[in-house]
């Protein structure tokens, strides 16, 4: 018996829709196995991961949990939406984490260096600066790829560590709050530099979540209805056909990196101006990397990414509640996220291939013959 992968003549619409759910199901099974190996009751663990953080849906007293979900989902969706354009155009931007930090740092210039500048225009300027910072940081690997043909996976990834260490140096060094008891971090932003909350009465979800939804719809429209989206898809799938169409590969590299950099930068400044309210050394809990999983789980479709962003945000919250309730290490979250990406990519194979199990030897006659 052997297993063969047979290429389908056309991609399967059924598995295109089914694959993320299949992957989620397999992740739950594999997660349950992982927890039982850790000596925990797998049903308890999965309950705390995926159900407990959602009790706010039916319990008004816990509605703050849904706000926390939106806070975690907002940067994931914003970044993943930009990454989807990158990946569709065959540009492997792995450095969204660095672009996120660059956006947070550049966006913080006004509230940190000009704390006396207090006006309604401060916040819009910060958001714009954040996008510009993320885009500029994304332009570095794009430039290297176009000019020197470097591998953007390596350059964008390495730039993440540069951004992290630069930010670390800033908040411990020249930008440190002199009244901060030597804790790393800048001064607290003024009220004009704080991103408002959507419904302050029930929780602290901020406008970043709205930005994420707007970005998802806008990019979805661009990708599915406009010439630009067509260009992205053609150059991503078939670069030579794209050149035949008259599209420029070099311009597409910049477009994809600038767009995803800008959205990651926006996510960065929203995180700093929203829930954190100042810049410190741990502004990201790996949003830039988790967003890669979000992008693929959402099938690189911006609307799918909204759903996938909420699911991955749930694993963050679930990780916290499971840690408190049954004492699972918070590293388990990372294992969960890794398994999810693994299963998503594996299940995507079924879109273009189908599995065939061959039981009997194919040749009915002539088996006894010599193989000389």
């Amino acid at each position: 018996m052997r297993i063969e992968l047979v290429k389908r003549p056309q991609h399967s619409a059924l598995f295109c829709a089914l694959s993320p759910f299949l992957a989620l199901g397999l992740t739950l099974v594999a997660g349950a196995i992982m927890f039982s190996l850790l000596g925990k009751n797998p049903f308890h663990a999965l309950y705390y991961y995926f159900i407990d953080p959602l009790t706010g849906i039916w319990d008004p007293g816990n509605r703050w949990q849904l706000h926390e979900l939106a806070i975690k989902a907002a940067p994931l969706i914003l970044i993943a939406v930009g990454l989807s354009v990158c990946y569709m155009s065959n540009n492997w931007n792995i450095g969204a984490e660095g672009q996120f930090i660059a956006g947070a740092v550049v966006g913080s210039i006004i509230p940190v260096l000009l704390p006396g500048f207090q006006s309604w225009i401060v916040l819009p300027l910060m958001l714009l600066l954040g996008m510009a910072g993320g885009a500029a940081y994304g332009a570095i690997p794009a430039f290297f790829k176009v000019r020197f043909n470097t591998n953007e996976i390596l350059t964008s990834l390495m730039l993440v560590y540069v951004a992290q260490l630069f930010n670390d140096w800033l908040v411990r060094g020249i930008w440190r709050n002199p009244e901060g008891m030597s804790f790393p971090g800048t001064i607290r932003f003024s009220e004009y530099a704080i991103l408002p909350q959507i419904w302050p009465d029930s929780g602290r979800a901020h406008w970043g979540f709205v930005f994420a939804l707007v970005a998802a719809v806008a990019v979805w429209f661009m990708m599915s209805k406009t010439l630009k989206g067509f260009e992205v898809k053609v150059l991503g799938q078939s670069p030579r056909a794209g050149r035949f169409a008259g599209f420029s590969q070099a311009r597409m590299v910049f477009f994809a990196f600038l767009l995803s950099g800008a959205l990651a930068g926006l996510a960065g400044i929203c995180e700093v101006a929203g829930p954190i309210e100042h810049l410190n050394e741990k502004i990201s809990i790996g949003y830039g990397f988790t967003a890669i999983i979000v992008a693929f789980l959402g099938r690189l479709n911006p609307l799918g990414i909204v759903a996938a962003g909420l699911i991955l945000a749930l694993t963050y919250l679930g990780g916290e509640s499971a840690q408190i309730a049954i004492g699972v290490s918070d590293k388990a979250v990372r294992a969960f996220q890794g398994m999810l990406l693994f299963f998503v990519l594996a299940c995507d194979t079924l879109i273009h291939y189908r599995v065939r199990i061959i039981r009997a030897p194919a040749v009915k006659t002539g088996e006894a013959a010599q193989n000389a």
């Binding site: 991609h11 067509f230 078939s238 056909a241 035949f244 194919a362 040749v363 006894a368 000389a372």
Partner: protein
């Protein structure tokens, strides 16, 4: 059939079947090759010849049926098993490393640890004894396609096969090189070797082969002696119906028409170590005429197409002129906007994006020229307009497909090519440049494409056709130029051109000295 009475036949295939999904690529195929026989396997593209041969060579496993070798049933599980039995194969697409020498390439395919110098000496001796001279230390990247084929043949002969399978061997050769190959094959036959010769060129099959098996749609439609058939009767067996001949009216006063496409002293440095530089190419294509460019594959046709289409632009704007306007610095979109249309050689991945629908592939080459029809303000795509244009082209070119708007990769080669040519014809382009218009296309579709190119020219457009198929060029061109090693000869008028003259130019004879016999290197 043949070689009866001399013990068992070398190869007998009975009821061989291979199924891919719902397609029976080979359906109950019988084939017999006697000792010392050159046996032709005839059929159009997609008839199942390659599938059959892959099963004989062990790269595909049959679903059912029996293969007998010297009278005994065998199971050929892998190419190395086939080699051990004594089956050798020369593929249509070569598998050689361009950066290595001929001898190193041969050494790679042998399992043992023989030193390179021994292999080189053996290969050289063998090559001279069969009239296929070869320098074993030459680097493959520097060799012509004909010479590369020699390496493949020598590599195959070194393993002392009893049966040699040749897949479309002359499709990459000049007529003179093909003649040399035929001599070699006859020599092998006289030594008692058997040859399975795959081709769709009927004349050479009639000339050389002792027996023929004709396939159509995966089934054997007949075993015949090709010497007793005419080319027309063989074609009828292959295609299953009469193929309409292409009609081409001579036109008067062509030389007075204005040139719509002008190429002046086009040079291009090689982009990679293995691509061909273009040297001083000049050519005019006038309104109403079809100019053909002949040449063995890999002599700069691809580079030339990229330069003319604008996928690669030129320094000097005057190098390429379309409708009297300098456009050397314009990209492909700018040239399309001047009225030019292009069809590249490779259908999947160049002319069309494989995983995109036909309607998207229509939009691919026409979003700029048909901006008004296909795009609303803000760059929003008008799917309705594109869909109706797609259906119009499908109907006009008789594109057969499943579903209303399938992905390009789901179409057969011929049908996709009809769509890609139709996509450009639908614009009524003033200048049309086509590279290998009917490569791998079945006879019916090829006739349709050729006729539509002639009609486009007769309606007042300039048509430039690059092709390796000399029959095709003689069928549709008003004049034929030859590309060799990056240079282009002067065009010969159709009335003056002969296979021999063109063949000599393809082999590298100096233009103007076409009557001088040149040893083909």
């Amino acid at each position: 059939m043949s070689a009866d009475g001399n013990g068992p036949n070398l190869l007998e295939v009975r009821g061989l079947t291979k199924i891919f999904g719902s397609l029976k690529a080979c359906d109950n195929v019988d084939l017999t090759v006697g000792k010392g026989e050159i046996h032709a396997l005839l059929g159009e593209n997609g008839a199942g010849k390659s599938t059959l041969v892959k099963m004989l060579f062990g790269s595909l496993e049959p679903y059912s049926g029996e293969i007998c070798w010297n009278g005994a049933p065998v199971r050929i599980g892998s190419p190395s098993a086939a080699k051990k039995l004594g089956i050798g194969m020369v593929f249509q697409h070569f598998s050689l490393f361009e950066a290595l020498s001929a001898a190193e390439n041969i050494a790679l395919s042998l399992d043992d640890q023989t030193p390179i110098s021994t292999i080189a000496a053996k290969a050289q001796a063998l090559s001279y004894s069969y009239g296929l001279p070869l320098d074993p230390y030459s680097v493959v990247g520097d060799l012509s396609v004909g010479e590369r084929q020699r390496i493949e043949i020598i590599r195959c002969l070194l393993q002392k096969p009893e049966l040699i399978i040749l897949d479309e061997p002359t499709s990459v050769l000049t007529p003179q090189e093909a003649d040399k190959l035929f001599e070699t094959l006859e020599r092998l036959r006289s030594e008692g070797k058997s040859i399975l010769y795959i081709s769709h060129r009927l004349e050479e099959v009639k000339r050389m082969c002792d027996g023929a098996t004709v396939m159509r749609h995966g089934k054997v439609v007949g075993h015949t002696d090709p010497r007793k058939e005419t080319a027309a009767s063989l074609a009828r067996m292959m295609v299953g119906s009469e193929v309409h001949a292409v009609v081409r009216d001579a036109v008067e006063g062509m030389d007075k028409a204005e040139p719509l496409l002008e190429i002046r002293n086009l040079n291009r440095k090689p982009a990679t170590p293995f691509s061909t530089p273009l040297k001083h190419i000049s050519l005019n294509v006038r309104a109403g005429e079809v100019i053909g460019i002949a040449g063995v594959a890999g002599n700069g046709q691809g580079e030339f197409f990229e330069a003319v289409s604008g996928e690669v632009t030129q320094q000097d704007a005057g190098t390429i002129r379309i409708r009297g306007k300098d456009c050397g610095r314009l990209g492909i979109t700018g040239r399309r906007l001047l009225g030019a249309a292009f069809v590249p050689e490779e259908r999947l991945g160049h002319g069309a994006a494989p995983r995109m629908k036909l309607s998207e592939n229509l939009f691919l080459s026409r979003y700029a020229t048909d901006r008004k029809a296909f795009l609303a303000p803000g760059g929003i795509i008008k799917e309705g307009a594109i869909d109706s244009a797609t259906q119009r082209i499908i109907e006009e070119m008789d594109v057969r497909k499943s579903g209303r708007d399938p992905e390009a990769a789901a179409l057969s080669g011929g049908n996709l090519q009809k769509f890609i040519v139709g996509r450009e014809l639908d614009r009524r382009p003033t200048v049309m440049v086509v590279n290998q218009p009917t490569w791998g296309v079945d006879a019916g579709a090829a006739a349709k494409i050729r006729q539509s190119l002639i009609e486009l020219a007769r309606s007042g457009s300039a048509v430039l056709v690059i092709s390796q198929d000399l029959d095709e060029l003689f069928e549709i061109s008003d004049a034929i130029a030859v590309m060799h090693n990056g240079s282009l000869s002067n065009p010969l008028l159709r009335a003056e051109a002969t296979f021999e003259k063109i063949g000599l130019l393809m082999g590298g004879a100096e233009p103007g000295h076409a009557d001088h016999t040149v040893e083909v290197v």
